[in-house]
């Protein structure tokens, strides 16, 4: 059995969620990976170094420069014949492309798996992670997205797979990339950070999120937010941790002014250590927190920043 994994990459680096997808794929069979984009030889070389990867397919063409769903899915379908499973990480790219691929292959996608039971059977969270479904697929080709937080990523170095160029495939030009406005941040990405500190509605406004900065700086943490904070316009949507945002499982998750709605817990309850700071001692977040501090965040945060600075 051979498995093809579509990799997310940026500036010649394979993103961490994709390294988790490779880890999941390794449980199924021989792993080939696909790097598609324009001028992405460096990313293909990086993909070849991932432990467990047997072959890298490189599709280097202007058509793939922005990972648009229509040309990317046509490319994957053209490559699908040799593979029993097609995988990608559950990222904005994977979620956009893989179901389209599945429909073209007349296969029911299996989204966001958190476990591999056997070649046909997978575990995936439903109802915002309030239930775990084990599902068995009867499709000849399985199209799967992988919940990165559930699989330890393979290392970035250690392998030595050959790179093979594949030709671009024709696809009607019905979509065009215009621009991207990405948040500029020196901080790690939410889904890859060792520590995440998130603010909720209790932060009261967007400016107050600055109170999280010195703590994030001291811990090398990514900054996240609850849906309530996003809905209130405090921070952009890409900060969102939860069922409808990002799923994170860092070593340390610090929830500040977050009540702990089911939708939020769905995105962070697999974190190794959870700290909650909230002035309402009845807040549901305390029921999942390893360490709870009942305090006004406006006094606790500066104090925490000072403690960490002195440490």
């Amino acid at each position: 059995m051979t498995v093809l994994v579509l990799l997310d990459h940026e500036a010649g680096v394979i993103k961490q969620p994709s390294r988790s997808a490779v880890a999941a794929a390794s449980k199924l069979g021989e792993v080939h990976v696909l790097v598609a984009g324009q001028g992405v030889q460096a990313a293909a070389a990086a993909a070849g170094k991932l432990p467990g990867v047997a072959k890298v397919l490189l599709a280097d063409d202007a058509a793939y420069a922005n990972a648009l769903a229509e040309p990317m899915s046509a490319l994957l379908v053209s490559l699908a014949s040799g593979y029993s499973h097609l995988l990608a990480a559950t990222t904005a790219v994977g979620k956009n492309i893989m179901p389209r691929v599945a429909a073209l292959l007349d296969s029911q996608p299996i989204s966001d798996i958190s476990g591999v039971v056997d070649a046909d059977t997978f575990v995936r969270p439903i109802y915002a992670g309030n239930a775990m479904a084990t599902v068995k697929s009867s499709d000849a080709k399985k199209v799967i997205t992988v919940r990165a937080a559930s699989f330890d990523p393979v290392a970035a170095e250690g392998g030595s797979a050959a790179v093979e160029a594949v030709a671009a495939v024709a696809s009607p030009a019905v979509s065009r990339f215009v621009s991207a406005e990405l948040s500029k941040s020196e901080r790690p990405e939410l889904t890859a950070a060792r520590v995440v500190i998130s603010g909720g509605r209790g932060m009261q406004n967007g400016d107050n999120f600055a109170l999280l900065d010195p703590i994030a700086d001291a811990l090398g943490a990514a900054v996240g937010a609850s849906r309530a904070a996003v809905d209130a316009g405090f921070v952009p949507n890409d900060y969102q941790v939860g069922q409808t945002g990002k799923i994170v499982a860092p070593e340390l998750y610090i929830a500040v002014g977050i009540s702990g709605a089911i939708q939020h817990l769905a995105g962070m309850k697999d974190s190794k250590v959870i700290v909650a700071i909230n002035k309402d001692e009845e807040a549901p977040i305390f029921s999942v927190a390893d360490y709870g501090l009942v305090a006004d965040l406006f006094s606790a945060l500066p104090e925490l920043a000072a403690e960490l600075k002195n440490a």
Binding site: R100, A102, A103, Y127, A128, A131, K136, S138, V288, Y291
Partner: protein, 249 residues
């Protein structure tokens, strides 16, 4: 331009779901059901496009048991013009739903189909993309802003790390993200008016679609429970515990 808006009947987002003791699924008997919140955003966006004069007619489609007609009524009360219920007691999985919607789109010839980015029950996040594939249309997923300009649709999308803008050639599929709009509450007069709007009922067989599920549910289980930990009395104690006990900083 006609707009098709698929709406799914799901367990209300405020309900804390319970796994059935026999492990076959989650308890839905006697549980409050509502329109999938992302689909509500889809209906709202369609209604706004009609108010702007871009859309001429909005058709709400729901697929599933007879009670899905209530979900269609909700869409009609928000401003959709008519409804189509694809009635089936089968477990309709996204691939089957996409095929059924394709059959409806082939007949109705909409210029735009707006779906929620995911249903909050199965969390698959697949139907829109699959429908786009089957129709051979362009797709703008996770949309937070839409602008129709002649034969083009500009979509601002939520992506990891920020936003992306793409231009699609119509007809297109759009899936909604949270910030696209804030859905309206239906007014009482509109709820009354919605009762008179037509809902057509069809069966999957009439649309020529085989809805046999491709995924079999082997079991459904409770997720591992997390135990509540300890309350600390001060920031200093918290930092000390994180250092010496949890050893994470």
């Amino acid at each position: 331009m006609k707009i098709l808006v698929p709406v799914k009947r799901v367990v209300d987002y405020n309900v804390k779901v319970r796994v059935k003791s026999d492990g076959t699924g989650v308890e839905t008997a006697g549980v409050k059901m509502s329109m999938n919140p992302f689909d509500e955003i889809g209906v709202e966006e369609a209604v706004r496009l009609k108010e702007k004069g871009v859309a001429t007619e909005i058709i709400a489609v729901s697929l599933g048991v007879a009670a899905c007609a209530e979900t269609i009524r909700t869409a009609l009360a928000m401003g959709a013009d008519r409804g189509i219920l694809v009635e089936s007691d089968a477990d309709l999985q996204p691939l089957a739903v996409a095929k059924l919607l394709k059959a409806i789109a082939d007949k109705e010839q909409p210029g735009l189909i707006i779906l929620g980015k995911q249903a909050i029950d199965d969390d698959m996040s697949a139907t829109g993309q699959m429908l786009a594939a089957l129709l051979g249309w362009s797709q703008g997923t996770f949309a937070s802003e839409l602008t129709v300009d002649g034969g083009n649709l500009t979509v601002k999308r939520e992506v990891d790390g920020g936003m992306e803008t793409i231009v699609l050639t119509l007809p297109s599929i759009v899936t909604t993200d949270l910030r696209l709009n804030e859905p309206r509450y239906a007014s009482l007069p509109n709820i009354m008016k919605a009762r008179k709007k037509p809902i057509e009922t069809v069966k999957p067989e009439e649309l020529g679609v085989d809805v046999t599920p491709r995924l079999t549910v082997v079991s459904v289980a409770e997720p591992p429970k997390r135990q509540a930990g300890v309350k600390v009395g001060s920031v200093a104690e918290l930092v000390a515990k994180l250092k010496t006990e949890a050893k994470v900083i």
